[in-house]
Amino acid sequence: MWLFLLTEIMFFGGMFTAYLIYRIWYYPAFVAGSHWMIIWAGTLNTTVLICSSFTMAMGVYSAETRNRKALLRYLTLTLLLGIGFLGIKAYEWHDEWEHHHVPGLNFSTSDFTRVDPRYPLDKALPQDMAEKTQVYFSLYFLLTGVHALHMLIGVSILLFVIYHAWQGAYTTGHMTMVENFGLYWHFVDIVWIFLFPLLYLISRHQ
């Protein structure tokens, strides 16, 4: 399983590299772009994910202690939290669509070429830099999109795991499946732990 996660690290690695490079190049655009992130949603989502990681860990623990009820309870909680995450993410995406921030499909620089009312101290971006916010949003959608895809896959597997757990599997000592799924889930959590500051936070203030 760890080997598979290595694969995943490298999978995200490509995008993180791109993010880093363009951030260096188009710093102001990245700052401006991240000002449009909904910070409460991001924070909430981080919390949701961390909770789900915790419930997942507890689920694995319940499997270890062969406690079927607890296992079911924790897995279901994890599932709900996962779905919650996706819901909030969907809300955010919808918001970005409304603001014409989706590169390629629905994008306009107008939000960036005028002074942002919420950040009156910041100057508006000149046109050339405003164009570059597209790069920011491209990466934003890719990173969060691929992450959400992983969540989606995770949720589907989780359904399957819960079904089996309900039938009494995993609590008889054969718990590799739960364990490995746990690893996967935590990994997806870790990715978000990095995405959150990179996309939402670190440019809050400049």
Partner: protein
């Protein structure tokens, strides 16, 4: 001939194939398509990859025919572009990358380490299906218009300027990539967990070492091409701006990501071959491989260093001069382990007792051709020289020397070497030697002129070229037709041998590996009882004792 050969066939009048083996365990299409047996999966892979090879080879034949005349009268320019793109993509992603790991690796690894199967048989079957799915995408892309990006998918050409089926092709590679990842994963876990008792790391055949290195590359590098293809498809389909210079993206970034995979991938294409060569050289010299540890560690070294050199494909592409320096230096370093291996194989023959059966002949051509290919690689790695040589036929010659002269030769060596194990029958030896020689001659005739024409400056991917290059191109095309015979011949006689070949017996080469201690073709469960390994790899003295109390076939 009989004195100079190591083949000990059982007396042919009385010999028979074992009654029970993985081949006749079950019958019917379903028993093949749903099999979990690594040996059957290997054979499935063999069929699919050979199928793709014929497609890629047909494209190659058309390329060479078109280049017979400077004007390129055979096909139109865009057809030509599609041809070499198809050729490159099929040959790399659907033939050479999967062929060695998935065919020989699947068949041999469990047998060699004394395991019943790979660690995750289901996953193994799944990778085959993924591979086939990827292949179908690719075929679909080829049939519905083809793609003319070259196998490197250079942006922004591939994202904005061609209107062929790039998305289909990229998706095909993407899916097939997952097949590689799963195979790599499977092998690593297999090698770690399923070794027979007593099979310590340094008792493993070198074949296993090099497959281990290959698998590492699979797992760590393949996802990067997956993500770069995703980015490419997104950019092409909905126009995000990551690689598009007009939106502020850097087209070079795509190449960074692409080569981060594709350079390690070229070692995926050669390391398994190196593993095969180690086995064959040892067996036919009847000697332990010279410097076992050096060879083992050089495999791992190649795998590790291969991650540091990717930008040598981009020396003139506009990367900074400083970083070109770094990457050139690293490339020089990665070339050294290959040199170590070559010398060790040669030294293995010293004071051996050498026979020249077909696998050994292919091994010779591997050693010679790979050395030439590798050394021209060093020329390309030298910054100043690369300026003149890059993007010319010199490169084409370089990588065909390493890929075709190197890896395909090694694969042929391996295929002939294990053929009796796989099918229980011998291939016709005389025809085998003939085909090996034909291949060697045809190969050199095809690709050596390309070195010269490349130094003269003929650019690659050219549908037509200035007339003064014609002579060399004619030679090359002539060579290619000989080469085609060299490939068709083994296909024919190997098929023939399935029914009419001599019965091989369990160990015709008197080779020491574990896989040779069981009947051929092996049982579905490989070993009737778990073997205990109390001998070193390539331990011919052990083998000599062993053969005294003859190996038995079960069933």
């Amino acid at each position: 001939m009989s004195t100079s050969t190591a083949i000990v066939l059982p007396p042919q009048e009385t010999a028979s194939l074992p009654k029970r083996s993985f081949l006749n365990n079950e019958y019917g299409l379903k028993s093949w398509l749903l099999t979990l047996d690594h040996k059957r999966i290997a054979i499935l892979y063999l069929f699919t990859t050979v199928f793709f090879f014929t497609i890629g080879g047909t494209a190659a034949a058309l390329i060479r025919l078109n280049l017979l005349t400077p004007g390129g009268e055979l096909v139109a320019a865009d057809t030509y572009n599609k041809l070499f793109s198809i050729h490159g993509i099929i040959m790399v992603f659907f033939f050479l990358v999967p062929i060695a790991p998935a065919v020989l690796g699947n068949f041999c690894i469990p047998l060699m380490i004394g395991a019943k199967d790979v660690a995750f048989p289901r996953l193994n079957l799944l990778s085959w299906y993924l591979f086939v799915t990827g292949g179908c995408f690719e075929l679909y892309a080829i049939i519905c218009g083809g793609m003319d990006t070259g196998w490197t998918f250079t942006t922004p050409l591939s994202t904005h300027y061609v209107n062929t089926n790039v998305v289909g092709a990229a998706l095909g590679i993407f899916v097939a990539g997952f097949s590689s990842i799963l195979t790599g994963l499977n092998f690593i876990v297999t090698i770690h967990r399923l070794r027979a008792p007593g099979m310590t790391w340094f008792r493993m055949p070198l074949f296993i070492w090099s497959y281990y290195a290959t698998s590492i590359i699979f797992v760590l590098a393949t996802p990067v091409i997956a993500i770069s293809l995703v980015l490419l498809v997104m950019e092409r389909a909905i126009g995000i701006g990551v690689f598009d210079p007009t939106k502020g993206g850097d087209p070079l970034l795509f190449q960074h990501l692409f080569w981060f995979y594709s350079h390690p991938a070229v070692y995926v294409m050669i390391l398994p071959g190196m593993g095969v060569i180690s086995e064959v050289v040892a067996c036919f010299s009847r000697k332990r491989v010279f410097g076992y540890t050096a060879v083992a560690f050089s495999s791992v070294a190649i795998a590790v260093f291969s991650f540091f050199v990717w930008a040598h494909h981009m020396f003139i592409m506009g990367i900074s001069n400083y970083s070109a320096l770094v990457f050139s230096l690293m490339t020089m370093l990665v070339a050294v382990p290959s040199a170590i291996k070559i010398f060790n194989w040669s030294a293995t023959m010293y004071k051996g007792s050498i026979t020249f059966d077909t696998p050994m002949l292919y091994t010779f051509s591997f050693i010679g051709l790979f050395t030439i290919g590798g050394l021209t690689g060093v020329m390309l790695a030298s910054l100043g020289m690369d300026i003149h040589l890059t993007e010319t036929y010199f490169i084409v010659a370089h990588f065909h020397y390493v890929m075709v002269g190197g890896m395909v030769s090694a694969f042929m060596a391996g295929l002939h070497f294990w053929w009796p194990k796989i099918t229980g029958r011998m291939y016709p030896e005389a025809l085998g030697r003939l085909a090996a020689s034909v291949l060697f001659i045809g190969f050199n005739l095809t690709f050596f002129p390309q070195f010269i024409v490349g130094y003269l400056g003929m650019p690659r991917r050219y549908h037509s070229y200035p007339p003064e290059f014609q002579v060399l191109n004619v030679l090359s095309t002539a060579g290619a037709s000989i080469l085609a015979i060299g490939y068709v011949l083994p296909m024919l006689y190997l098929t023939w041998s399935l029914k009419y070949g001599k019965i091989a017996g369990s160990n015709p080469w008197r080779a020491p590996g574990l896989e040779w201690q069981v009947q051929s073709p092996p049982l579905t469960e490989n070993f009737p009882e778990t073997p205990v390994v109390d001998f070193e790899a390539y331990d011919f003295e052990w083998l000599a004792n062993q053969t005294k109390n003859e190996v038995q076939t079960v069933g």
